[in-house]
Symmetry: C2
């Protein structure tokens, strides 16, 4: 593929061609070698769409809520892109697509663009692909970008953490408050929605979450995630979720640029980490060196310590060991 | 904690104290600062127990099969340690423990040691913790070590890949052949068990898997994973699974040391990767440098490329860029 072809796909994306949107997201998904150059070509158009990440345990009703949020965005005559990502369970690809059938009344609406991404067993890279796909949707001109994960876990957090606002969806029963706390879900939350609020235990769960949020944020100059209740399946309380999202966006307003730059640094960290790992272990000389250490009978930790010392000596002032 | 205390926990482990076994696994789980020194103390006793990793989609009946395999090991008057790991879904900790109730007839048997580990939202590290815990169980003197994951995904593969033999459990319906293929499950499999073989579609799934294995391994001098059927819940065909595992162990026999050393190199790779990431990005100077690049308006990929160039220049002959 020539640079001209690459540029033309970016041009077609910027011209609003839907086929180019789909194809450029495939480039993002497959880590196509042409993607970085294409990104250069449309980078100036990235950064306009607010990005909302949605996560929570399976069964909390995320898809139904996303569906209703998309409906609300459309009611304002704004367009929306929905990226549904399943980084940890390749085998649930079917379930994820099944969920999406609920959104089928959107499929004939050109103002809604829906795309699923499931892991295909590739080493990491899902968070990178998701950010790249959001950049593509943003540059294409969609007014809002949603990224939704199917499960919960580190890989899912990495995906939604790239959004401006993270909405954590819980429901009574599926994952109780203690579990949500333990799992680190609250650490990534900007807004907490207790869905299926008509079920028993919803009020108690909301109170638990409010207390946990309060303990976490009290006395610190940080955003206090609002806890709101809704029943997306009954189209009840969705406006409260929208208001909570809007309040977080208003809070970000003043420092949105810094907020996003900090998230971009994390993106660069992932990209560099993967390239460095490849350069050291796949094409580089670390594996045989460590193998030699292990043959001498040292433990893996001792072998790691020796190699790490060699590496950090070379890296000079770019690294700093924790002052242990 | 003094070195003497650390040494004494290792001594107590080697003396066969069950409390020391549980506590040392907690050290492994929590990445306790004393673990590497303790490992030095018991490293000479690591490497005797065959290690079996079990993975597959939720609902395939992994726990029931593991239960039956443990029963078979006990029938040979051999002891077994079972590590049940859920790296990607902290919120399913309850389900995992629920599954374990099925093993409760083992809980009064001192020849079976069962331990669950669920992610608590910590950054990675689950595969490291699992390998360390297996080393502890091995040094303690358990005759066999099983490590079982709850779901499927990269984090789960990393956990089971540290075992000598990886058993992939599928069942008709839950995850069909095409999905298993796409997910990369077959890439990690040494033995494939089609469980719930009494359900419709089991023979077809077995045939599909055999063909896929054949396509993957034909003409290459590699192990061809046997595909066996069983119905663990009915205690039917478990001996076929055991025979398939035994045949893989016999195949490994000649080069078990090399096989394990290659897996240890991967362990060192993970440990070094995490330390390097921390040294570069948390305590080191990479984040402000990248932030400065981003302020100039370059794309994240361009910022990554600049930093990567700086890093590899320092690392000299330890790294080698792929000859692109």
């Amino acid at each position: 593929m020539t640079d001209a072809t690459r540029a033309s796909l970016a041009d077609r994306l910027l011209a609003g061609e839907r086929g180019a949107l789909a194809r450029m997201i495939s480039w993002a998904e497959n880590a196509h070698a042409g993607f970085p150059a294409a990104l250069e070509a449309f980078w100036s158009r990235v950064g306009r769409a607010p990005r909302l990440g949605i996560t929570g345990p399976p069964g909390a009703g995320k898809s139904t809520l996303v569906d209703e949020l998309a409906r609300a965005v459309r009611a304002q005559e704004r367009t929306v892109g929905v990226l549904a990502v399943d980084p940890s369970s390749p085998l649930t690809g079917g379930a994820l697509l099944g969920d999406r059938i609920r959104m089928e009344d959107h499929t004939t609406d050109p103002g809604v663009f829906i795309r699923s991404m499931a892991s295909r067993g590739s080493h990491g890279g899902m968070a990178r692909a998701a950010v790249d796909a959001m950049d593509v949707m943003d540059a294409y001109g969609l007014d809002e970008v949603f990224v939704e994960t199917v499960g919960v876990g580190q890989a899912e957090y990495d995906v939604v953490a790239a959004a401006d606002t993270v909405l954590v969806v819980l429901c009574p029963g599926a994952g109780d408050g203690v579990q949500a706390l333990k799992s680190g879900l609250l650490e990534v939350a900007d807004v907490i929605a207790i869905n299926k609020a008509d079920l028993p235990g919803a009020d108690r769960l909301a109170t638990d979450m409010e207390e946990s949020v309060h303990i976490r944020t009290a006395g610190r100059e940080v955003w206090t995630p609002p806890v709101v209740t809704c029943s997306a399946g009954r189209r009840d309380g969705v406006e409260r979720v929208l208001e909570a999202i809007a309040s977080h966006r208003a809070h970000l307003e003043d420092h949105l640029v810094e907020h996003r730059r900090a998230k971009r640094v994390q993106q660069v960290r992932q990209v560099v980490g993967q390239r460095l790992d490849h350069a050291l272990w796949v094409t580089g000389a670390c594996a045989p060196r460590v193998e030699a250490h292990l043959r001498e009978g040292v433990t893996p930790y001792a072998a790691a310590a020796r190699l790490f010392e060699d590496l950090t000596r070379s890296l000079g002032d770019l690294v700093q060991e924790p002052s242990a």
